[in-house]
């Protein structure tokens, strides 16, 4: 899972966003997920959504989709 590349503080920079559903990708973009956006995961659980801070804004993303956010540059 790509999110495991986060550092100890669960922070990273998004270098690319790879999502199969175009509409979902668009929504992610609209809501503020940008390449080079600073991301911090503040909650990750097996049966719920992920809570992320992307460039200072709190955003929730379903877990299945969270797997598809490619985070690099830790």
């Amino acid at each position: 899972m790509v999110l495991s590349k986060l550092n100890k503080n669960q922070t990273a920079v998004i270098e690319s966003v790879k999502v199969s559903d175009k509409l979902v990708l668009k929504r992610l973009y609209d809501i503020g997920v940008r390449v080079n956006a600073k991301i911090k995961v503040i909650d990750l659980s097996k049966n719920t959504a992920i809570l992320l801070i992307i460039d200072g804004r709190l955003i929730t993303v379903s877990y299945e989709l969270g797997k598809l956010i490619v985070v690099k540059g830790v």
């Binding site: 509409l23 909650d43 460039d55 299945e64």
Partner: protein
């Protein structure tokens, strides 16, 4: 100067608050994304003239995804008027793309940067002088939820031409966002507690149980107030009117009409106002603080296999108030299939109008605290909602769920005026319903039960009254529950017009309480809870979808209510037999499923 003004921008940027202040309206506001789901029109005074103003649903980009976004974009692209682009300070970096998009299309735009104080509080900043230099359209900033802010906005609209500086602008320079420092998000203790996967869910349960206790508990606020209203509005008033009418020698028919039809039927419903009002006030408060968005996040995982995502939580919570409103909120869901799936299941959520009747039906068999009963009812509704969703996903509206992607707003202290306005709006709606629909149902019911087909009057009700003949044909429906009563079918017919109508019917047709066996009564409560919603909800469903879908919905809901009530009834009468039959059918179903899976693997 302008033909109209459109309030446009990202969700939760404060457009509706501005609209309410400009037009002196009372449209719903809330601290979450997607409160406004349709364009609302109002008027405000401008240069001694009236100017039309539109409050548009929030959008994330000029390329719409959801249904309400399409409404906004279509309006903005067609308008020749002024577009007031309301931006929440913290999201300037995203909104600026849309501002540039509109300028490129030669639209007249006024940028209003809102909630600036909050941005500074969160260590973000905007260099407004630089922003004004870079943009070819006027920029104003401040707190537009205040009268001072509104005056600033009105002045800017009035002097729009003077504020314009026709200069060349450089998109690339603007997109560098040199003038903007985004806010820093620091997870507060409140956010930690309310979004924690274990503590957050426990807290959610505790909050709702607390609200229910306040409204329905023996030592809560709602019950004593309810008793007070009943004592005054029904018992004392009836006595006073009866004595007064006796003195004036008023006919027994008119006396009965006023006491039973008006005071008994209408006043009887009024007694439940404090309890439903507390429920609505609590939901409004939680909405305004921003807690509801956290609830969407917390419950998304629970809805994983149901075909919808956490966003539908808003519709469910609205459903606690009114089914018709909750169906209207499904416009904010991602696509038509999800919208249909959610709508098909929303009938399972108890609206506040069902509470009076449920309490009256249960009065004879519930010996414990009403709070427990109502909590169980809501829990039962949520379980049914989930089952219906899964069922709909499998058989009626197939398709996968869309993942939840949602911005969570910061916690905000609700403005007292917003809270009061929302509560007053509910109160007005309730009173209006009582003096119109409930009044008509109550009077009609009284006349139909008291006048026989040969037009003779009897205050105790006629076995050959109009109501008897209107309901008797349907009484066979309740034979399987061991109920042989035309009054019960009359009661259910009233519920089709308004759910409070059932309570009115109980008060008039069963003045000494419903005297049928407890098992039958429980089955009737289940039937009433699930069966076809009122005409208002059906008409909203028709508007949102089409007539065919509305009919399907109504029939499905009726059949489900009937089957469920039958199961409950026979489970109470013959528990061992029903459970055994259930187990056998379950085993057969699982075996068939396994066989099919095996065949597929081979």
């Amino acid at each position: 100067m302008f033909s109209e003004v459109c309030l446009f921008g990202m969700p939760n940027s404060g457009k509706t608050t501005i609209f309410n202040l400009l037009t002196k309206s009372n449209e719903k506001v809330g601290n979450w994304h997607g409160v406004t789901l349709e364009a609302k029109k109002g008027q405000f005074e401008f240069n001694k003239n009236k100017l039309d103003v539109y409050d548009l649903p929030g959008v994330y980009s000029l390329y719409p995804v959801t249904l309400e976004e399409k409404i906004s974009i279509n309006k903005v692209l067609k308008t020749n008027g002024l577009i007031v682009f309301v931006i929440e300070g913290a999201t300037l970096n995203i909104a600026i793309d849309m501002v540039l998009g509109l300028i490129k299309q030669n639209k007249r735009v006024l940028v209003a940067v809102n909630m600036v104080k909050e941005l500074y509080k969160r260590f973000g900043s905007i260099d407004f002088e630089k922003l004004k230099q870079l943009l070819p359209v006027p920029v104003i900033y401040g707190e537009f939820n205040t009268l001072k802010g509104i005056e600033l906005l009105k002045n800017a609209i009035q002097n729009y031409k003077n504020l314009l500086n026709f200069k060349n602008y450089n998109t690339a320079t603007i997109k560098k966002l040199d003038f903007f420092t985004p806010p820093v998000y620091k997870k507060s203790v409140l956010d930690f507690l309310t979004t924690n996967k274990v503590i957050g869910k426990i807290l959610l349960l505790v909050i709702f149980l607390f609200v229910f206790y306040l409204a329905f508990g023996n030592y809560g606020i709602g019950k004593p107030l309810s008793n007070l209203i009943y004592g005054f509005a029904v018992t004392n008033l009836s006595q006073m009117v009866e004595n007064w009418f006796l003195e004036l020698n008023v006919s027994p028919f008119a006396t009965a009409l006023v006491i039973e039809g008006v005071i008994g039927g209408v006043g009887g419903i009024l007694q439940f106002l404090p309890q439903t009002l507390i429920l609505i006030m609590a939901i409004t408060f939680l909405e305004l603080t921003g807690y509801m968005a956290r609830v969407a996040y917390l419950t998304d995982g629970l809805l994983k296999n149901s075909g919808i995502n956490g966003r539908a939580v808003f519709s469910i919570l609205m459903g606690f108030g009114c089914t018709a409103i909750s169906v209207a909120t499904t416009n904010g869901l991602e696509n038509e299939n999800i919208k249909k799936r959610a709508t098909l299941s929303l009938g399972m959520i108890s609206c506040s109008a069902k509470i009076p009747a449920l309490m009256l039906i249960s009065a004879s068999f519930i010996k414990f605290d009403n709070f427990l009963f109502i909590s169980l009812i809501y829990l039962f509704g949520l379980v049914l909602f989930y089952i219906q969703l899964t069922f709909s996903k499998k058989y009626f509206v197939k398709g996968e769920r869309v993942p939840l992607i949602m911005e969570i707003p910061p916690y905000r202290v609700p403005k007292l005026s917003d809270f009061i306005k929302a509560t007053t709006k509910y109160l007005k709606g309730f009173i209006l319903k009582i003096i119109t629909v409930i009044f008509i149902i109550s009077i009609t019911l009284f006349l139909l039960k008291s006048v026989s087909i040969d037009f003779k009057f009897n205050t105790n009700g006629y076995e050959n009254s109009f109501l008897y003949y209107a309901s008797v044909l349907l009484k066979f429906l309740f034979y399987p529950f061991n109920v042989d009563s035309w009054e019960v079918s009359a009661m259910m017919i009233c519920g089709l017009f308004a759910k409070e109508g059932v309570a009115t019917a109980i008060l008039q047709l069963f003045p000494n309480g419903i005297t049928i066996p407890t098992s039958s009564l429980i089955a009737l409560a289940v039937f009433f809870y699930v069966y076809t919603p009122c005409v208002t909800a059906l008409s909203v469903i028709k508007t949102s979808f089409n007539f065919k879908f509305m009919v399907k919905f109504a029939i499905l809901q009726f059949l489900e209510a009937y089957v469920l009530a039958l199961i409950v009834y026979y489970l109470l009468i013959y528990p061992i037999i029903v459970l055994s039959v259930g187990l056998v059918f379950g085993a057969i179903y699982i075996s068939i499923k396994r066989l099919k899976n095996k065949k597929r693997l081979i």
